[in-house]
């Protein structure tokens, strides 16, 4: 079922007031997350900085959500093609990152 393009755009970007309001809501999340990140990361020992990095790396693969949106629901062929490439890259990032972190942490535990 194809829906009108305008509605499809709406579906991807929930309407929530004007541009400025949306931006400030997003900015709120950004600022709060930065503080949370600072509080958490400063407590992690240097021993575990490599698994932390690859684990964080995997989390940054959350961009996969965006890739899924444009690959699976893109309205133009070009957007779909770009989306496909983005899905491949982001999935490598997510799957590889989590696996590598897992292996490294397992090494640390095994030594004990």
């Amino acid at each position: 079922m194809q829906e009108p393009a305008s509605e499809r755009g709406q579906r991807r970007r929930p309407p929530r007031g004007g541009v400025a309001v949306t931006f400030i809501q997003n900015l709120t999340l950004f600022v709060l997350a930065a503080f949370v990140g600072y509080e958490i990361i400063t407590k992690i020992p240097t021993n575990l900085h490599t698994p932390l990095m690859s684990g964080a790396n995997a989390i940054s693969g959350i961009t996969l959500i965006g890739s899924v949106a444009v690959a699976g629901a893109g309205s133009t062929t070009l957007a779909t093609a770009l989306g496909f490439l983005a899905v491949v890259m982001a999935t490598i990032n997510v799957v590889g990152g989590y696996l590598v972190s897992h292996f490294m942490l397992r090494d640390f535990v095994r030594g004990d």
């Binding site: 407590k43 490599t50 684990g55 961009t63 899924v68 890259m89 490598i92 590889g96």
Partner: protein
């Protein structure tokens, strides 16, 4: 409308995913909880992606599935097959893919919205601005990471590659990228009107300029500064994802991306502080000195005491406490297994043995720890600089293997040296220091190391792996 899920499912799932990411990172304080945290975090990812797939009208399910399968297979293949010694370049590579994906998504979304709105001017400002930011950061991350991974893997020249006007070139390409970004945001897209295309050429020109910038940023950076670069690129990949979140107005992208951005930035700061250098100096300043052979001779001539594995083994026989200080040389020689075995033997003979690890030893944050963990060194035997430094005065023998600048006392004594003020491991406070090195050649800083000429120090010349293995064999014979 395919969606069979109520409207509130998506934002609620994103909230849950964000909480799971945060909890996953919180668990990273110890490897045991860390394993659980990694699972929790990946569960959050599965939830976020799964709900997104269910919620959207997937017009091209085959394309999506193919992308997921290909990406999953490649990611798994790399993670399973790559050696731990090659971890720095793998982390760099994954990082680059994340950044690249963010930039592509932002571009695709602009193309898509442009197609809907018919003119870029009709696409809302926050989308175009965030798209430009995501494009610049994402492209820099992708190409910077590829260059970093290439250098770490040895396929690119690992030394500092510089050319006349390279600083100016970086500025030029940054300005070009920003100019295209501004062009996307504030003016009708002349290029697109001229070409009558729908693919928002300004964005892709921005992407190209930022790609060149990413290459130029990392090319001049030499080996021992890699930990800073890897941490910084890690931060960028998060910020690129957060910027993409602003493009799509997607809460979980913003939260998760920002968490990673903060994490990478903190690691970057720690790395810089561990070298007592500013980030600007690492990125743009040259580092290290050319030392004349006269200066080397003045430091070393007549003051070098050589030792043999047999002598070192005898020292270890009478030692109560031993600290092993690993450096990048240990990684190159792959001596971690022999070093770990020596530590295990000492431990069995009731010697108090620990590893003293400098934060920037190696080519990425935590590099030495990963190698030692793979060689089954117990977690509590790895000591950070602040923990191990006060203990050297009660240490009988320190064995330095493949480290140089991080044990150079000049950092504390010589204000004019390039490593002045860098926190170092004060190994000369111990009763005896054994430095295992192939030769007296300087480290990354290019300066001589007075530690080698110290009365307490004996040089054990030779390959790290062979020397360590020889110590292990001798020790086994006598116990």
């Amino acid at each position: 409308m395919v969606s069979f899920l109520p409207e509130w499912v998506l934002p609620l799932s994103y909230l849950a995913a964000a909480v799971l990411f945060i909890q996953g990172l919180r668990d990273m304080t110890h490897p045991r909880t860390g394993m659980r945290g990694n699972m929790i975090s990946s569960g959050g990812m599965l939830l976020a992606v799964g709900v997104t797939v269910l919620w959207l009208d997937i017009l091209s399910p085959i394309v999506l599935l193919a992308g997921l399968v290909v990406g999953g297979a490649v990611g798994t293949g790399l993670a399973v097959s790559v050696e731990r010694t090659e971890m720095p370049q793998l982390v760099g590579l994954f990082n680059g893919f994340g950044g690249g994906a963010s930039a592509l998504v932002a571009g695709a979304e602009l193309v898509d919205q442009f197609d809907t709105a018919r003119t870029i001017a009709a696409v809302s400002v926050d989308v175009t601005a965030a798209g430009a930011v995501s494009g610049i950061i994402g492209a820099v991350t992708l190409w910077g990471s590829l260059v970093a991974a290439g250098k770490l893997h040895g396929v690119l020249d690992t030394s500092e590659i510089r050319f006349t006007g390279d600083q100016a070139a970086k500025v030029v390409f940054l300005l070009v990228a920003v100019a295209f970004g501004v062009h996307i945001v504030v003016r009708p897209d002349f290029a697109a009107m001229l070409l009558e295309t729908q693919w928002v050429p300004s964005y892709w020109l921005l992407f190209a300029a930022a790609s060149i910038l990413g290459v130029l940023l990392v090319l001049p950076i030499g080996g021992a500064d890699m930990p800073v670069v890897i941490a910084l690129l890690n931060s960028y990949s998060g910020l690129a994802a957060a910027a993409t979140g602003f493009v799509l107005s997607n809460t979980v992208l913003i939260i998760a991306g920002t968490l990673v951005g903060a994490s990478g930035l903190i690691l970057t700061v720690i790395m810089c502080e561990s070298m007592n250098r500013s980030l600007a100096n690492v990125l743009f300043g040259g580092f290290g000195e050319e030392t004349s052979s006269e200066e080397m001779d003045a430091t070393y001539e007549g003051n070098i005491t050589e030792t043999s594995p047999e002598e070192v083994e005898m020292l270890l026989d009478t030692a109560q406490r031993v600290v092993i200080v690993p450096g990048y040389g240990m990684a190159v020689a792959q001596a971690q297994h022999a070093a770990a075995e020596l530590a295990e033997l000492l431990d069995e003979n009731n010697v108090d043995v620990e590893f003293g690890i400098h934060p920037v030893a190696g080519r990425m944050p935590g590099h030495m720890n990963v190698l030692l963990a793979e060689a089954d060194v117990p977690y509590e035997k790895m000591r950070e600089l602040e923990e191990v430094n006060p203990t050297f005065s009660q240490t009988d023998v320190v064995i330095v293997t493949g480290a140089n600048d991080v044990v150079n006392p000049k950092a504390n004594t010589d204000d004019s040296s390039p490593i002045a003020g860098m926190p170092v491991l004060n190994v000369s406070e111990a009763r005896t220091v054994i430095v295992n090195k192939r030769s007296l050649s300087p480290g990354f800083s290019g300066i001589p190391n007075p530690l080698f000429a110290d009365d307490k120090t004996s040089m054990l010349f030779g390959d790290a792996k062979e020397s360590m293995q020889e110590l292990v064999n001798l020790y086994k014979e006598n116990h």
